[in-house]
């Protein structure tokens, strides 16, 4: 006995030592890293100068090269419809970004296109660059091929294809590795469509690049732009359309590109091309793995390949320039989800960005360092398109795609001691995910504000589970450390109501002379009221409606009873697109959650037969799973197509733009009804808020400043795909929609050009300008919302309902039993909050 105890004790001690070594080690290193992080943060900061490289719809940016303080970049400017313009390389010094000098420039016309994808500064200060030219003057633009069909005499497009027709159409099947047998059952029209699909990659514009007509030149110019040599490498570069260009240490230009292989045109292979700048020779190698995320060269010219390893994690490999394959030597795993924008750094390093966070990786030390988030230094970007320089003097090129222009900004970042950065009071903005509108508004505010800096705190990051993130968010609010400003979108707002957690925004609106003049959509704001106080304010929303033919339920309201009748009477039709019984129940519940669960009165009501109705409506629908299985791999008709064929009863309308409203009218030509999901009373108009639902914490010390930020967010709201809460902005939106898009046709007459909306391959709608009546109707509709889809229902209750109704659908319980159980469980939930 004694010996056994001793042995056990010894065993225990060993285990413990091992554990405490690793365990404590981990804990400590974890906290150490954190403190390092903080130190780095507190020790250094960046001062940023912004240089707009491109800021217009009619300019393009291609690439950039750096030589000390000199920046060379290639780009293009053009006239309004991109028919003529010039392509250039410009140079400037970072000390004086306004003094830009054009080194070379080439004009292009309607029939040609020029492009400079690669610029390199040589040691003697001369420039080496690649220029590609495309000439369209002697060819049919492939995109317009379909219009050749009617032109062929006597052809409607419905005829079965023959070899003669093919010849007439000028389609060479062999080009795509096809033989006539492959297409013999198709019609002429279908063959033409197929030809179109094969010759374009779907993205209009880029298809031109894949033409054999292109010319490629390797050009050298001196510092003044005088051409010293120009080599035609068109033949060698014929198949090469690189994603990235890299300067290898052997002086060759390496290019990563995908090459079509195999006859089916569907198989692509990742290849590496190397271009010898002296001889103009091009070699092609297979990379051997398709999971390549990106490539770059380090400052020393070592080619680095980022790829997914066997376990699906991002790792780094290098390209062996002697054996011309991946070396497989240096497969260091990086702790990132993916990788974008890799660019050479100094020496053995390279920069990359992931989700607008910058990293640097040192190849020789295998050290991965996270630098910062761009937004930390007030840089917003949709895309990082170049990174260079050193950690001390970092140059980051960012792109923003606005609705009307495209901005490329050079951010010249100088690292300074933190003490040299003017100190500002921090205001925290808490959210689950930072929507772009919020980030952009915050950056805008931060740039302007002298005294405050808004810091965004995201509670759901990649390594945090949803529940845990929500829990932390809630805990933060309650422990008094909560954010000053809170984005409540996609949270259950009802659970925060009545707790005095948030400021009443109505008082802020009233006290704000400017803002109170706004004509706000009151019906939307009402959705976020609690005891007459405005807890949170969205800047945009959308409306969720079911549209159906007028004859389906005439003038009556879409009540649950009516809906049940309709479902029963149409057993062979689809009710709502892709909505099986579970989704239908979920939708019906969510849209009626106020009826079933009344948080104000603390009652719930699942046993008065209404919920039973819901269950019975859904019972005969196919299950969600069946639906998904059915469509798995099969061609699915689009929703409008089904509506027009009459197989689908309700069109699910997400009303986020005037066009969507018009689509309803175009789909149901004999008049239509528009209603939210059926409810007890019927006639609901359901709103949905996706992002920036701002609330101010009652605990905040900077409430007035928070209000300023809320206003900034409200005013910079992206209404591209949303309806603004500000009715004046809505009026503007509707006015635009009512303005016809006039163009001059071939006969010299001014005619209205419709915008064409397409779904899949077969269904298209032409949308003309909105009529005043339609605009008025839409405005009335969106100003009369009655319910809120997102966030009103409680996750717990929802889960209970979905879990219990399963028993009914499976036939294990009757509807009334299920209702009883739900009532019992939800009752507890409600009583808790009493």
């Amino acid at each position: 006995m004694k010996r056994r105890f001793m042995r056990l004790a010894a065993l225990g001690m060993t285990v413990v030592t091992a554990c405490s070594v690793t365990g404590c080690g981990k804990g400590e290193s974890g906290s150490k890293e954190n403190s390092d992080d903080k130190e780095a943060k507190s020790e250094y900061g960046y001062l940023v100068d912004y240089v707009d490289v491109v800021n217009s719809e009619n300019a393009e940016f291609y690439t950039l090269a750096m030589d000390g303080d000199n920046i060379y970049y290639s780009g293009a400017t053009s006239n309004e419809d991109w028919t003529t313009g010039e392509v250039y390389i410009k140079q400037f010094n970072i000390a004086s970004p306004d003094e830009q000098k054009t080194i070379v420039s080439y004009d292009f016309t309607e029939d040609s296109y020029i492009y400079i994808p690669y610029v390199q500064v040589k040691e003697d200060g001369s420039l080496l660059f690649i220029r590609r030219e495309y000439d369209y003057s002697d060819m049919d633009v492939t995109g317009e091929m379909s219009e050749t069909v009617p032109e062929l005499e006597g052809l409607t497009g419905e005829e079965t294809i023959t070899e003669e027709y093919l010849e007439l159409l000028g389609i060479d099947l062999e080009e795509f590795g096809l033989v006539f047998d492959d297409v013999k059952e198709l019609t002429v029209g279908e063959v033409v469509d197929m030809y179109d699909a094969l010759t374009s990659d779907g993205d209009s514009g880029e298809e031109y690049y894949y033409d054999d007509n292109g010319k490629t030149y390797l050009v050298t110019v001196d510092a003044e732009g005088k051409e010293t040599s120009s080599k035609d490498v068109s033949e060698a570069m014929k198949d090469c359309y690189p994603y990235s260009y890299m300067l290898g240490k052997d002086g060759k230009i390496y290019m990563q590109t995908e090459v079509i292989i195999g006859a089916d045109m569907d198989t692509w292979e990742m290849c590496m091309f190397s271009l010898d700048t002296e001889s103009g020779e091009v070699e092609q190698y297979t990379v051997g793995t398709s999971e390549v995320l990106g490539m770059t060269a380090t400052g020393d010219g070592q080619i680095v390949v980022a790829k997914y390893d066997d376990e699906g994690e991002v790792c780094i490999d290098t390209w062996d320039m002697e054996k011309n394959k991946l070396s497989g030597k240096n497969e260091d795993k990086l702790d990132v989800m993916w990788m974008e924008s890799m660019y050479a750094g100094e020496g053995d390093t390279f920069f990359y960005s992931v989700d607008n966070t910058l990293y640097t990786y040192d190849l020789s030390e295998q050290k991965n360092t996270k630098l910062f988030k761009l937004v930390d230094w007030n840089i917003t970007a949709d895309n990082v398109s170049w990174i260079g320089g050193t950690e001390e003097n970092l140059i980051v090129l960012t792109e923003m795609y606005g609705s009307s222009n495209w901005a490329v900004t050079l951010n010249l970042m100088t690292r300074v001691k933190a003490a040299d950065i003017p100190e500002k009071t921090e205001i925290t903005l808490g959210c689950l995910y930072a929507a772009d509108t919020i980030t952009n508004a915050v950056v805008e505010f931060n740039k302007k504000s002298q005294n405050y800096k808004v810091v965004i705190k995201e509670y759901l990051t990649d390594d945090v589970e949803y529940d845990a993130g929500i829990a932390e968010f809630n805990n933060d609010i309650l422990s008094g450390n909560g954010p000053d400003l809170i984005d409540l979108s996609s949270l259950d707002i009802s659970s925060y109501a009545g707790k005095g957690l948030f400021e009443d925004l109505y008082t802020y609106i009233e006290n704000d002379a400017e803002f109170s003049k706004k004509n706000l959509n009151e019906s939307v704001l009402k959705l976020f009221e609690s005891d007459g106080k405005l807890m949170a304010m969205p800047s945009t929303f959308s409306v969720q409606m079911l549209v159906s033919d007028k004859s389906l339920y005439g003038d009556s309201a879409l009540t649950l009873d009516k809906f049940a009748e309709i479902v029963k009477a149409n057993p062979d039709k689809e009710i709502v697109d892709l909505t099986g019984r579970e989704s239908m129940l979920a939708n019906l519940y969510v849209c009626n959650s106020d009826y079933f669960v009344n948080m104000a009165d603390k009652t719930c009501n699942f046993t008065d037969g209404t919920f039973e109705k819901l269950l019975n409506i859904c019972k005969d629908l196919p299950s969600d799973e069946e639906l998904w299985e059915q469509m798995d791999g099969e061609y699915e008709e689009s929703e409008p197509e089904k509506v027009s064929k009459g197989t689908l009863l309700f069109y699910n309308l997400s009303l986020y733009s005037p066009e969507e409203y018009q689509i309803a009218g175009l789909l149901f030509k004999n008049g239509y009804n528009m209603s939210g999901y059926p409810s007890v009373e019927g006639g609901e108009v359901t709103a949905n808020v996706y992002s920036d639902l701002m609330a101010i914490s009652s605990n905040s010390k900077y409430k007035e400043d928070c209000w300023e930020i809320v206003k900034t967010i409200f005013e910079s709201a992206d209404d591209m795909f949303n309806i603004p809460v500000d009715n004046d902005a809505l009026d503007k939106m509707l006015e635009e929609a009512c303005t016809p898009n006039m163009e001059v046709d071939d006969n010299g007459n001014e005619v209205e050009m419709p915008s064409v909306y397409g779904w899949g391959d077969n269904f298209e709608l032409e949308i003309y300008a909105m009529t005043e009546a339609e605009a008025e109707a839409m405005k009335t509709l969106v100003n009369s919302v009655t319910t809120l889809v997102s966030s009103t229902y409680n996750e717990d209750v929802y889960n209970i309902i979905m879990e219990e109704s399963e028993a009914f659908f499976e036939g294990d319980a009757t509807a009334s039993e299920v209702c009883e159980i739900i009532q019992s469980r939800v009752n507890i939930f409600i009583n808790e909050d009493n």
Binding site: L8, G12, V16, T22, G27, V464, A468
Partner: protein, 298 residues
Amino acid sequence: MRRKKKKGAAGMAAKTITALIFSVFFLLPIVLTITNSFMSTTEISSNYGKVFSSVSDDEDGREYIGEKVNLKFIPDMVSFEQYWSVLLKSPEYLLKFWNSVIYVVPITLFQIGIASMAAYSFTRFEGKIKTMIFFLYIILMLMPYQVTLVPNYLVSDWLNILNTRWAVWLPGIMSPFSVYLLTKYMKRIPVGIIEAAQIDGAGELRIFWNICLPLCKGALFSAAMLVFVDYWNMVEQPLVLLKDSELHPLSIFLSKINTGETGLAFAVATIYMVPNLLLFFYGEDYLVEGIASQNGMK
């Protein structure tokens, strides 16, 4: 005399049968968990698909789910598929298991260490204050976790250890759980032994280390087992204190088993109870002795 003996034999048989029935009751769930862990995932889902609505889909698409729930003792074919998947294919289970170890072992050892000192103090010196403190310990020991939930959370927040392993370690180590049991046991050490040492001039530390601890080995071990099991089982603490799921122990995973990969659940459950069972078979005698010494409150 003869009659009595016969009656005794019949009684004995009845008692043996009772004991057998109860043994089945006690062992059945454990045995079932273990035998079911040797079923293939397919067999699990065909047997229990109805119970666990979210049986994992394989790459081959939907699996067959039996209409009835079939409780089976013996797998159709012994398969190590579950273990294979758990141990080799999804390292996260092993990681969570390792997490459990990292939490429970230091907590157990340090708690026993600190508690044995406290117990010694309670044994050696009695006074009004200590009696009150001891009463406090008993109350704290018996409190359900939900009562200390908020305090725990607040302290972790103040100490800035929220979402680190320390948030679980420190309250665990400081828990009064084993003080009571150890005190009960130490009080049974004959006073004479200690007094003899005292007369020999031994200091308190020496009495504690050289006399008290060796005499309480059994109780220490038994307390350690109870602490181990208690913390091996913990669900609430890590859920509240650790938001990073990478830090979670296996118990949390098991508590969410219905939403996870049920096909592997039995194997995970088995792996999870193996350390406890080993500990139990190793130290059952100590455990019994430890529990038995607990009779009475003071």
